[in-house]
């Protein structure tokens, strides 16, 4: 029997997209504030026994239509986002692991690129995600294998519409950036249909002072008479991203639910020049184009005691990279013309059975079949004629799990998961995970959690087959992860809620795969490092009703993540053993504060990353510095409510203190910049 403490507080004043989005589906916009239930269960869901999870609410996900999931994760979670610039590759990693150790699912389907292993979060608009959560470390084994760091789970949900709805938001920002969002919804008792589209464009030519180079001033004899650090534009950084998402859900009302999700991406992005590049950007073309389709069909059948579900999906990704230069006559000649195609078929079946209210049995089997074709270079053969350097491979992947979750008494829960994976013809050893949690003090919902798992990650297709350098003899990365933590939640109706957690984790990853140069002039992956990643994650949330119609919420997290190379020295000269891995910050933190009064709200976001090393030896040199940085953004929003339509107006200031900072060496980031968003939600009745 669940014990519902039931704290109801007036929370979360309307927030630009969030409420507009919410109410587009309802056909009307509520005045003033929204009621938000914070419900704390003495008896938590069996499914979540012992798991370390960070969930994102719609306020965080829908805060700004121009945000990618990379931005959301930067300001709202403890994981590290490595950002190569505005609208360029952004990867995420948990707890000192690498981006390919982060598994990513969308509506249950794994979307990690099978060639690269990682996912570019700058290509996922947060406005297309209705529900997102992080499963840290061990907890990812509940969903899939290979998440040595963890798993990012993203889903879309039925719009809950009644009749037709429409929402349109226009965003205008610095650097001639334009963002447009349109959503159409329709719903009745059985059907929920939603169409979403986002178009983002910008020349992205922000200026910055380039500290890495100098401009010379010469006299008539070509002697340098002066030098200065130039104010430069971000050259070759333009982008145009279009996303389209079609969803349809049908609920028979008899326990059957059918769903269709189809997401199409068309992106064209120039790749910005490094700060140390002296090329004339008009003489070069450096462009990446991508077309991706992801589709999932789903069926769920729910009964009080059990659930069965099946999914089928398909992913198509076409990526083209062109590096050209003007050979002097205005003709752009190809230096590199790289193409890749990935076709992935996906099928999944799962079942859950509740034996009483204390036991849950579940089984899950997912199958992926990848077909990959890459073309990286066109060469002239010795015997004449042309040849393509690339590879064409197919690989089936299978992952299945069985789990038992048991709550013998209200205050104690345990869970065992056993998973098995197959990549190609190779099977992983059994992947076991064990979770336990218990309520220590009901009054403040003080709960203790612990878990342990072994996990494996198979090499990617590029790791094994890329030409040149692919290494088919790579071993699987493998590791043990241990988690333990405490959490609490308290509150008083209409006054405040307060919750927090502290988690200690400890991971050992062996046979870490890294790409290293070879004496033949190309890179090749090898199993090199044994890494010990450990540390502490702290999270806190507080909400206060300050006065009538006034609310204040604060969210924050802090991470301490030493990630230490524990391998044997490569040679007596090797200084990397016992040192922090490059590009992994030892400390990071973020805080979000939001104050709202009726239809007005103010948001302040702050994040911090400690200094990151760029060398495995942790030497800090003049050319290898990535100093600590702090970033602050603010947003002000007002909603205007009329009988025929609701309007929202929002103003953002990003990089409030105009900080000059880098996330990656030689990749400049924009200074202070501004965005204005106008939204309209017509009322049809």
């Amino acid at each position: 029997m669940s014990k519902k403490i039931g704290i109801v507080c007036l929370l979360f004043a309307l927030f630009a997209g969030a409420m507009a989005q919410e109410n587009a589906t309802k056909g009307k916009l509520g005045r003033g504030v929204a009621l938000h239930d914070v419900i704390i269960y003495g008896k938590r869901p069996l499914k979540e026994i012992g798991t370390q999870k960070t969930a994102f609410d719609s306020t965080q996900l829908k805060e700004n239509i121009s945000l990618s999931m990379a931005d959301v994760l930067t300001y709202n979670s403890s994981i590290f986002v490595k950002n190569y610039g505005r609208a360029t590759l952004s990867t995420v990693s948990f707890r000192g692991t690498s981006p390919s150790h982060t598994q990513v699912t969308w509506n249950g389907m794994r979307i990690n690129n099978p060639m690269l292993g990682m996912t570019d979060f700058s290509m996922i608009p947060s406005y297309f995600i209705d529900d997102a959560s992080l499963l840290h470390g061990t907890s990812s084994v509940n969903e899939t294998g290979g998440g040595l760091g963890g798993l990012v789970r993203m889903t879309t949900k039925p719009a809950n519409a009644d009749g037709f709805g429409l929402q349109y938001i226009q965003g205008v920002g610095s650097f001639n950036s334009f963002d447009e969002f349109l959503r159409l919804t329709y719903g009745n008792r059985h059907w929920q249909v939603s169409t979403r589209a986002v178009l983002s464009t910008s020349p992205n030519n922000y200026t910055y002072r380039n500290h890495d180079k100098k401009e010379n001033i010469y006299d008539e004899n070509m002697n340098i008479i002066d030098q200065y650090y130039p104010i430069e534009e971000n050259k070759s950084g333009a982008y145009q991203d279009f996303h389209f998402l079609q969803e349809a859900y049908y609920n028979t009302g008899t326990g059957h639910r059918l769903g269709l999700n189809a997401w199409y991406i068309q992106s064209k992005r120039e790749l910005p020049l490094l700060t140390t590049d002296y090329a004339d950007n008009t003489a070069f073309e450096n462009v990446q184009r991508e077309q991706t389709f992801r589709g999932v069909l789903s069926w769920d059948f729910l009964r009080s005691q059990y659930k069965v579900a099946a999914k089928a999906g398909y992913i198509y990704t076409y990526m083209a990279y062109d590096y050209k230069r003007d050979v002097g006559n205005g003709i752009m000649a190809n230096m590199t013309e790289s193409r890749s195609k990935v076709n992935t078929a996906y099928a999944q079946a799962e079942g859950e059975y509740y034996w009483g209210k204390e036991r849950l049995f579940s089984a899950n089997l997912a199958f992926y079949q990848h077909f990959v074709e890459t073309k990286d270079k066109n060469i002239i053969k010795i015997e004449g004629g042309n040849a393509i350097v690339g590879y064409k491979k197919a690989r089936p992947e299978l992952t299945g799990s069985l789990s038992v979750k048991w709550q013998p008494i209200d205050r104690l829960g345990m869970s065992v998961v056993v998973r098995e994976e197959m990549y190609g013809s190779e099977w992983s050893p059994i992947i076991p995970a064990f979770f336990i949690d218990g309520v220590l003090w009901e009054r403040i919902n003080l709960m203790a959690k612990a878990s342990v798992s072994r996990n494996y990650r198979f090499p990617t297709l590029n790791d094994m087959y890329f030409l040149p350098g692919g290494n088919p003899n790579l071993k699987k990365e493998n590791g043990w992860t241990y988690d333990a933590g405490l959490s609490f939640a308290v509150g008083r109706e209409n006054l405040y809620t307060l919750s927090g957690s502290a988690t200690w984790f400890d991971s050992y990853i062996n046979d870490w795969i890294i790409w290293l140069p070879t004496t033949k002039g190309f890179f090749s992956p090898r199993n090199i490092k044994d890494v010990h990643a450990y540390g502490v994650e702290l999270k806190a949330n507080a909400s206060f009703c300050l006065a009538k119609n006034w609310t204040l919420t604060l969210d924050g997290s802090f991470s301490w993540t030493p990630s230490i190379n524990n391998g044997d020295p490569l040679s007596p000269a090797d200084q990397s053993v016992g040192k922090q891995l490059p590009y992994v910050p030892e400390y990071s933190a973020n805080v979000t504060g939001r104050i709202s009064y009726k239809t007005f709200s103010f948001l302040y976001k702050w994040c911090y990353y400690s200094e990151r090393y760029t060398m495995s030896s942790n030497d800090i040199t003049l050319t290898g510095k990535l100093p600590t940085y702090f970033m602050s953004n603010i947003a002000i929003e007002k909603n205007l409510l009329f009988s025929f339509a609701d309007f929202s107006i929002k103003f953002n200031i990003n990089n409030l203190f105009n900080e000059e900072y880098l996330s990656v060496l030689s990749r400049p980031m924009p200074g202070i910049n501004f965005q204005l968003f106008l939204g309209i939600t017509p009322k049809w009745r």
């Binding site: 050979v327 013309e337 060469i379 010795i382 350097v389 033949k520 000269a573 090797d574 490059p582 050319t623």
Partner: protein, 334 residues
């Protein structure tokens, strides 16, 4: 974030010494230049940055000295910096290059710069830092273009073509035209001219699965007069020989093939034992002092930390060792 840029150090380098060109990591712009004084055993790292208060760039490839000016080729920064070899301060730069690899002086007012991903060798005027022309290379597209190291004998400059190539090109420096080409094995990596006027190159043999071919690498001795192969020394399949270098009087050849190897240029067979065996090292760069014949070997270690330079006497005795920058790949003697 605090930037401590702007401070320029004043250096007065000795009249002779060794520059170490540290590639840095591709796309990270962390190439550096080190200077080592063999007499005092003192090394100064990041001398370009410290003297100029700016970065050297992305992937420093090579360097050569003419007079008191050093020319540092920075491949992925598309630039060649000219620096004063005593103060390390920049005196000029050549830009608008495709992907520069090596530079060779024909005269005070003419130099060649080879390129990767370009089927042209750039002709520049070092006095004005201007590109003055191109040498079009035959049977090469932009995409498969690769010209590398250059040596000169008489009025001819010889160039090895490496990436997806198998040729040595012969350039007439009076007409700036390719006047001959010689086919060798798959992917010749380096080029040297010995005391007897013979060319030496070593191929890497390509890689398994390469549509261009994969074969056992070989060391070639070439007669530049007849432009024919005189001698071919074969290595085992899968070997990765590179960095053909000569000692001071150019009578002894050195190269890297996992270990460090050497033999007289008159030898008829490759020696059985190396000059220096590999010791869990990743030998990446090699040079021989033109005056002392000391052998300098660069170990890149894991490629993401400061590489180490070992200095050996010509009879294989360790004389000194020091850390330089990330991926020390090339040397230049002052």
């Amino acid at each position: 974030m605090e930037w401590d840029y702007g401070y320029q150090e004043d250096f007065t380098a000795p009249t002779s010494g060794l520059f170490v060109i540290n590639e840095g990591n591709f796309q990270y712009g962390n190439a550096t230049l080190s200077f080592y004084d063999p007499l005092t055993h003192q090394v100064e790292n990041e001398v370009f940055f410290r003297a100029n208060a700016m970065k050297l760039g992305d992937v420093a490839q090579s360097m050569l000295i003419r007079g008191n000016v050093g020319w540092v080729v920075v491949n992925n920064s598309h630039v060649v910096f000219a620096i004063n070899t005593t103060t390390f301060k920049e005196v000029g730069r050549i830009t608008n290059l495709t992907s520069p690899r090596y530079m060779h002086f024909v005269s005070d007012t003419k130099a060649y710069i080879t390129q990767l991903w370009d089927n042209r060798i750039f002709i520049v005027n070092p006095k004005t830092y201007q590109i003055t022309g191109h040498i079009q290379c035959p049977n090469m597209t932009m995409e498969s273009g690769s010209t590398e190291q250059m040596v000169q004998k008489g009025k001819y400059v010889y160039v090895n073509c490496w990436s997806y190539q198998n040729r040595i090109l012969k350039i007439d420096t009076e007409t700036d035209q390719i006047v001959g080409e010689l086919q060798v094995g798959v992917q010749p990596t380096s080029l040297a001219l010995d005391a007897y006027g013979k060319l030496w190159t070593v191929t890497d043999g390509g890689y398994e699965g390469s549509p261009y071919g994969y074969e056992a690498p070989s060391l070639y001795r070439i007669d530049p007069e007849t432009f024919t192969i005189e001698k071919k020394f074969m290595f085992a399949m899968g070997d990765s020989p590179s960095e053909v270098q000569l000692n001071g009087d150019k009578t002894k050849l050195y190269w890297i093939n996992d270990a460090i190897w050497s033999m007289p240029v008159t030898a008829e067979t490759i020696p059985v034992d190396p000059f220096l065996p590999a010791q869990n090292t990743i030998y990446y760069g090699l040079t021989v002092c033109p005056t002392s014949d000391d052998v300098y070997i660069a170990d890149a270690i894991d490629y993401v930390q400061q590489g180490k330079i070992y200095r050996y006497s010509s009879d294989g005795k360790l004389l000194d060792e020091f850390y330089a920058g990330i991926i020390p790949g090339a040397f230049c003697w002052k």
